[in-house]
């Protein structure tokens, strides 16, 4: 077709829509091409968003009726063995007052549609049920647009932003980034469990619009490298678990069985008791960390979000990184459009912005986290049980002298893991985190 856009964005998820908002707001002519019937139709995430990331794209999101479920005031991290659970939690008055909406839960279907409506409101064109099949290139190899699966489906654009997620047939076809290896991918499954609002309030010790996130590590993943979570929505609880795709394939574990096991854990079961399953979803998560992030730009194109493997495996932040990378990509595109230079010389500014931002800094910080999890299998197998037994020893009240009890506890732990291995783990973990 004749029409030429300033930017063509592949994918209507958080990364693509963030970029579309920024670009359209500044008057750029933007088209977003989404393969689902509507934005969010093919998306899934844990459910936590960060006010700062969203606020930099839509400052008045709260006034614009952003469908917030609960404002997060407490974060818990639990370490589960088969039967026990060790938890740390942090709750701060600041999250009730000053830091309102520092983090909050949203429902994907509602949020994505709301977010896309904002982009449309700024003037972005959103085309759904359309699959991008190829990149268009000129003689010099510069990307000049995309091809879609519709008749007369070529879209010419000065720059293309690839925000089509981790599972990208386009990447496989064009090689704009290496295809993700199973070891770099986690398969996450999530269930939405409906509960009355009062029941959620009571079980999580919150009220009204406030909520809790609970990240879970330990043996729930059956010795595989993975983590789980429980988040509170207004009238439902999101419970999810993810594990490495390579591990899942190797151990022939079905993800929903893992989820069922998690739901039956004595520390989790009371939280979701008598709930009504509303929705079951599964999705790929790029968890290769810093080392799996591809080159983020080329002549005429940029990569953002999951497509760029931007995911913080420790903090379970995907959409936060996606939105920030989408915003930084858009800012780079605006600069390049201003200069009239869409070559990699200008677009590499995106890579620099990313390095300056928390996105890559965080990923770099946790660079060793992924490999820590991979090399220290005991984190997910023997250690949880050892730690639990140790604590069970210490906390059991009978007439054993406390000193003797501490000794037994220590032995419980060491018996499981081995002293050297334990020291090594502590050292590695400290370096990684």
């Amino acid at each position: 077709m004749e029409e030429k856009f300033d930017a063509a964005i592949v994918g209507g998820g958080p990364a693509g829509i963030s970029a579309a908002c920024i670009l359209a707001k500044r008057g750029a002519k933007v088209i977003v091409i989404e393969r689902g019937e509507y934005p969010g139709a093919k998306n899934m995430f844990g459910g936590v968003l960060y006010g700062r990331a969203l606020g930099r794209i839509i400052p008045d999101y709260a006034q614009k009726n952003c469908p917030i479920e609960r404002n997060i005031v407490e974060s818990r991290v639990s370490y589960l063995s088969e039967e026990g659970s060790i938890s740390f939690s942090y709750r701060d008055q600041a999250f009730f007052e000053k830091l309102q909406n520092n983090a909050f839960t949203v429902g994907r279907a509602k949020f994505d549609r709301w977010f896309a409506d904002q982009a449309k409101g700024f003037g972005a064109l959103l085309v759904c049920s359309t699959v991008v099949t190829d990149l268009m290139k000129d003689g010099a190899g510069r990307v000049i647009g995309v091809k879609t699966d519709r008749a007369e489906g070529e879209v010419r654009a000065k720059v293309v932003l690839l925000a089509d997620g981790v599972n990208s047939p386009l990447a496989a076809k064009t090689g704009f980034r290496p295809e993700a290896r199973p070891g770099q991918i986690a398969l996450a499954v999530k269930e939405l469990i409906g509960l009355p609002e009062e029941v959620i309030d009571e079980r999580f010790g919150v009220s009204g619009a406030n909520g809790v996130t609970n990240e879970i590590l330990g043996s729930v993943t059956g010795g595989m490298n993975g983590v789980a979570f429980v988040y509170t929505n207004r009238r439902s609880v999101s419970i999810g678990i993810g594990a490495n795709l390579a591990d899942l394939a190797r151990q022939r574990v079905r993800p929903y069985e893992m989820l069922e096991r998690l739901k039956l854990h004595p520390a989790i079961e009371p939280l979701i008791k008598d709930g009504k399953p509303l929705e079951y979803l599964a999705h790929w998560v790029p968890e290769g960390g810093y080392d799996s992030v591809p080159k983020l730009f080329g002549d005429g194109f940029l990569i953002a979000g999951d497509s760029a493997m931007l995911f913080n495996a420790l903090h379970r932040e995907g959409s936060n990184l996606a939105m920030t990378s989408g915003r930084l990509a858009a800012e780079t595109i605006l600069e390049a459009l201003g200069k009239g230079d869409l070559s990699s010389a200008t677009l590499k500014g995106y890579s620099e912005r990313m390095k300056e931002s928390f996105v890559l800094k965080d990923l770099k910080t946790y660079r060793r986290f992924s490999s820590l999890l991979e090399t220290h299998g005991e984190l997910f197998s023997t250690l949880p049980k050892g730690a639990s037994e140790a604590l069970r020893q210490i906390l059991t009240v009978d007439e054993t002298p406390k000193k003797a009890r501490r000794q037994t506890a220590w032995e419980a732990l060491r018996g499981r893991v081995g002293l050297f291995r334990l020291l090594r783990l502590v050292f590695d973990a400290w370096r990684a985190v």
């Binding site: 009726n65 469908p67 509602k110 409906g194 009238r235 439902s236 509303l278």
Partner: protein, 417 residues
Amino acid sequence: MAKNTRGIEVAEIIPDKCIACQICIGECPVGAIELNSDGVAQVDPEVCIGCGKCFESCPVGAVSYEKKKRKKVVEAKPSGPDVEGRGHSGVAVFIETADGLGAPVSWELTGKASELAKQLGTRVLGFVVGSNVDGVAREAIAYGCDEVHVMDDPLLGRYFSASFGKALADMCAEVSPEILLVGATALGRDLAGVVATRLETGLTADCTGLFIEKETGLLLMTRPTFGGNIMATIFCRQKRPQMSSVRPRVFAMPAKDPTRKTANIVSHAFAPPALELPEIVRFIPTASQGGTDIVDYPALVVAGRGACDQASLPLLEELAKLIGGVVACSRPVVQAGLLPYERQVGQTGKTVAPRLYIGVGVSGAVQHLVAIQGAGKIVAINSDPNAPIFRVADAGIVGNYQQIIPELIAQLRDKRL
């Protein structure tokens, strides 16, 4: 429960519970729900028809809608003073004719009309429109009409929407029945909308149940809607006649009494419409197999993916014949090219309500299940004990259908009189 000005008990959203998921907005058949400025759903009570679809669909129970009170959604007033016009009486049946005989559905409706007329203390009227239809008029008496009104004209030899529409509407205007029943055949569905529009009265299509409300004498009509997801009971308050179309085989065929001669036959003159009528160029009969409408049968043997092979069809057909039905199928069987699309039961095929449904190797995808909800009895035969169809079945047999069906045929033979 709040009522609107029309007396409908409307649905209300509980704002604290509403998650603004907007499912109800999509479900509401009349667009009565919107998101308000607080970001929660709100029902416009004047637009709401009290159908409860929002209540059914709400994932979080945020719609208040009293199930128990559904029977009394509208306080219907006695039909006397409310009804427009006067002197409407009699339960009329449009007698469809084919090759000089009345269509079976018309006699089924005559049987039902006799029941309704008895409750109302009124007569059963047969409305016969066509050319050379004396025989049909006499047949109508034999099936229970107390009075037969005939419009016999050479111009009515062939069915056209415009001529028959005018003829039947004119007859209604002259005779003033309080109820008019029409068989929901291809012809009846073509005709009923025209007549209702000409008479400016209400029409409830494809009813599966007709009752007289004792207190008011109103005709209550139930029909499946939303692809069979919901059964609605509908009535026509002020306009007359109260019109309903009913599919064949919904009601039983009454006994024929050829000795019955108590009824009058009244002739009416036909005034043709001003419009030019179309012309039938030719008729192409369908081969007997493809013409079968599975919807018309009181019993169905439905083949699913698990019974999807040519060799089994004779066995299924034998069972179907025995139970007074035909073989239908689920989608995979059509996709495999084993049976034509006309035989497909399901959301994308046909919604069926046979008295007896026997699913053979049907796993029971939701799309299939919603289309068989109206079935009287559901029997499931499947080798997989966890097949979802068992959850909607009245009785299930787990095992190999090739062994089960011959046994079933043998045992059912003994049940037939």
